[in-house]
């Protein structure tokens, strides 16, 4: 019986593992190899060891970009989850307009980044954008805040837009997770005299822990790998201030002929992202286990 289960398990895993190995891990491993060469993309190349990595870590623009990308990733993950969970809890109530509201909250995710960026530019424009106009009206003076044209604001604009975009999937993950919380447990907590807020933290939150892990990962992965949005919104500017790692890698790989360098930059990103994932998942699984035991 044990043996049968073992074999069935292997049989269950085999097909997807093969697809993953051939079409994901193999190309990544190959690009890891290229990152140790000076390949330009055509012709011969030679093995140069860790020279690419050495020059990357002394590249101040790259290091700034790395920090900025981490900041965007973590902040996006945080706010996407706070907003997403909040909205999911609202939508979990028996509202009349629940179905249409769910669609509305999800739709931003459906709009292609290029278009979203285009529309948001008109809202955030310094000269006569919707936001500045509204602020001017409310405060009855002329407001010309350069939301996307100054290094100090642009990061936050990007975070807001990407939270707006990434909320949809996070909301539906939370809604799906909330479906699994038994009503009677919540009721029991309420009857015992716990406030709704307290019952949310003591009953609901531990029950949806897997949902939280998933959603934070969605936020992190999209935040750290973010490319289309800043690229379409600002092209990485002004003065590199909204440039992310993915944009840098894209520039190395497609706009200059330095594939080896691009691949080492990209491998650093990969490694970073894997470490964060592992760390985060290990932590949250401990929490889940703890919750189960409690």
């Amino acid at each position: 019986m044990q043996k049968q289960i073992l074999w069935t398990g292997i049989f269950f895993m085999l097909p997807i593992s093969m697809i993953l190995f051939i079409f994901l891990f193999l190309p990544i491993l190959q690009s890891l190899y290229y990152s140790l060469t000076n390949w330009t993309g055509v012709g011969d190349y030679s093995f140069i060891g860790f020279a690419n990595y050495q020059s990357i870590f002394t590249d101040s623009i790259f290091m700034d970009t790395l920090k900025r990308t981490l900041f965007i990733g973590l902040t996006t993950a945080l706010f996407t989850n706070l907003a997403g969970l909040f909205i999911a809890v609202l939508l979990d109530q028996s509202l009349f307009t629940k179905n249409i509201l769910r669609v509305l909250f999800y739709l931003p995710n459906v709009i292609p980044f290029v278009v979203a960026a285009f529309v948001w530019r008109y809202m955030l424009d310094a000269n006569d954008g919707l936001l500045n106009r509204t602020l001017s009206m409310l405060l009855s003076k002329n407001i010309h805040i350069p939301w996307v044209d100054s290094p100090s604001y642009v990061i936050w604009s990007i975070i807001v837009i990407s939270v707006w975009q990434m909320m949809g999937p996070v909301i539906i993950v939370y809604i799906a997770a909330l479906q699994g919380v038994p009503e009677h447990l919540k009721e029991a907590a309420l009857i015992e005299g716990a406030s709704p807020v307290k019952s949310f933290f003591s009953v609901t939150l531990p029950m949806i822990a897997p949902g939280i892990t998933v959603s934070v990962l969605i936020g992190l992965s999209n935040g750290i790998r973010i490319f289309d949005l800043p690229f379409a919104l600002t092209g990485g500017g002004p003065a590199n201030s909204s440039e992310t790692l993915s944009i840098r890698i894209y520039r190395y790989a497609f706009q200059s002929s330095d594939l080896g360098y691009a691949m080492s930059a990209s491998f650093i990103l990969t490694l970073l992202v894997i470490l964060i994932t592992f760390f985060f998942v290990a932590m949250s699984r401990r929490y889940e286990v703890g919750a189960e035991g409690a």
């Binding site: 330009t40 000269n127 290094p151 990485g236 500017g237 002004p238 003065a239 706009q255 200059s256």
Partner: protein, 443 residues
């Protein structure tokens, strides 16, 4: 039961799609059979009258959607009806993705027979290294080209592409608004232009607007900074055009200092948004009268007239230096290159000769509304009447797109200059640029 509905949830769309796909492919099959069946008949009628060399085969073409003015489908239909033995397969990609696709195709040896290149783009060098650039100098259609365009289409000693157009960089301006400001003719000196900027600022308007998304414009004045130095210093010119400037050489760093200072000075009067916006948006601010001038080139009169038909459009060179030393920045547009390793070289050449014959090119030029690259083809917009005279001077500096400096480095220059406008750290910004430059310079 529940299981069943879940399965149906997966299966149903599958069935529908298969049906759709079947319809789609059936439709293809239909169109291809009609094409095939109509082909011989037209061939039969065409064969006796035209003396076509017997060329057969399929020519694969890779272009950005707007390269041929969006009329490539009509052109192909016309060509195939005239020469039914040659099939043309055009893959038209979104313009923003064309060089990414080309880059990958070069590395994976999947090159099409005819493909879009930009003489200044890094992919051109890669294509050359892999032997994909065919020398077009003896081709019949090349005889139609203006010498200036031909000269700007040379890479590594070969004429490598049929450019779709040509033009010079400069400032579009509103003639009426300039007159109202008290100027009877375009700015002659830098100071005059800055003075106008101050006057405009008092009125709450801007002197200029541009789009940094368009990489040619991001480091705007540096085209003229380097161009000016190149005119007065032949040694610098050679180093600049071959992308091998040694910035440690005496006086060279001063060129950068001047450029950064001028960039900062001019960009006080720039419309906020220019550092990050789209070409469309910049153009709109200009035609709305929010900004006096627009950094652009002598190819966009068509789209400006479309946005504001009442605008009295003028076009001036940026008054960077005295007129006799001020460079004219000449930029050939993207063009089509022939794959030297093509299995169908003769058919490809035949098609290219047809495409860039005066008759066909005239159609494309009309659809694009740009300045013609061919002798005696197309009309010149009134705004650009002076441009041919500029090109007759000795001050022409010509190159593709961002120039001898590769795109990413040019963008890095723009970013460093923008940084200087925010934080005032001159040496840091200059060092940042030099570092990027040294990374990509020709060794």
């Amino acid at each position: 039961m529940k299981m069943k509905s879940l399965v149906s949830m997966v299966i149903m769309p599958m069935v529908i799609t298969c049906l759709l796909a079947a319809c789609g492919s059936k439709e293809n099959a239909n169109t291809s059979t009609t094409a095939a069946s109509s082909a011989p008949s037209s061939a039969a009628s065409a064969a006796p009258t035209t003396e076509t060399p017997v060329l057969k085969g399929e020519v694969n073409v890779l272009i950005g959607e707007s390269l041929l003015g969006g009329i490539h489908e009509e052109l192909v239909t016309q060509f195939e009806s005239e020469y039914p033995d040659i099939k043309i397969k055009v893959e038209a990609l979104p313009d923003g993705g064309i060089f990414d696709a080309l880059r990958t195709k070069i590395s994976t040896a999947e090159m099409p027979d005819l493909y879009e290149i930009n003489i200044g783009h890094v992919t051109t060098g890669l294509a050359d290294e892999s032997g994909y650039l065919y020398d077009l100098k003896d081709m019949e259609a090349m005889g139609n080209y203006l010498d200036s365009v031909k000269g700007a289409s040379i890479y590594n000693g070969k004429i490598v592409d049929f450019s779709l157009g040509s033009g010079v960089l400069g400032l579009d301006y509103d003639k009426k608004a300039l007159a109202e400001l008290g100027y009877t003719e375009p700015f002659k000196t830098w100071d005059e232009m800055i003075e106008a900027g101050m006057k405009l600022k008092e009125q709450g308007k801007d002197l200029l607007v541009y789009s940094s998304k368009w990489e040619t414009a991001i480091s705007n004045i540096f085209h003229w900074t380097f161009g000016h130095k190149a005119i007065v210093d032949p040694e610098f010119k050679e180093a600049y055009l071959s992308n091998s400037i040694d910035w440690t050489k005496e006086g060279y760093r001063d060129v950068l200092v001047e450029g950064f200072e001028r960039f900062k000075e001019l960009n006080q009067f720039v419309r906020v948004g220019s550092f990050t916006n789209e070409v469309e948006v910049a153009r709109q601010s200009f035609t709305n009268g929010e900004s006096l001038t627009l950094i652009g080139g002598s190819w966009e009169a068509g789209s400006i007239h479309k946005l504001n038909p009442d605008l009295d459009l003028g076009f001036m060179n940026l008054p960077y230096a005295d007129e006799n030393e001020n460079p004219v920045i000449f930029v050939p547009e993207d063009g089509l290159a022939i794959n030297a390793k093509s299995e169908n070289l003769e058919a490809t050449k035949f098609f290219a000769n047809w495409l860039f014959s005066k008759e066909t090119y005239a159609k494309i030029q009309k659809a694009k509304g740009s300045m013609s690259a061919l002798k005696g083809v197309g009309d010149l917009d009134p705004a650009y009447v002076d441009v041919p005279n500029w090109l007759a001077t000795d001050n022409v500096i010509s190159f593709g797109n961002t120039g001898p400096v590769p795109g990413p480095t040019w963008i890095a220059l723009g970013n460093a200059a923008q940084k200087y406008t925010f934080d005032d750290k001159l040496d840091e910004s200059i060092d940042q640029f030099i570092k990027e430059y040294d990374k990509t310079k020709t060794k």
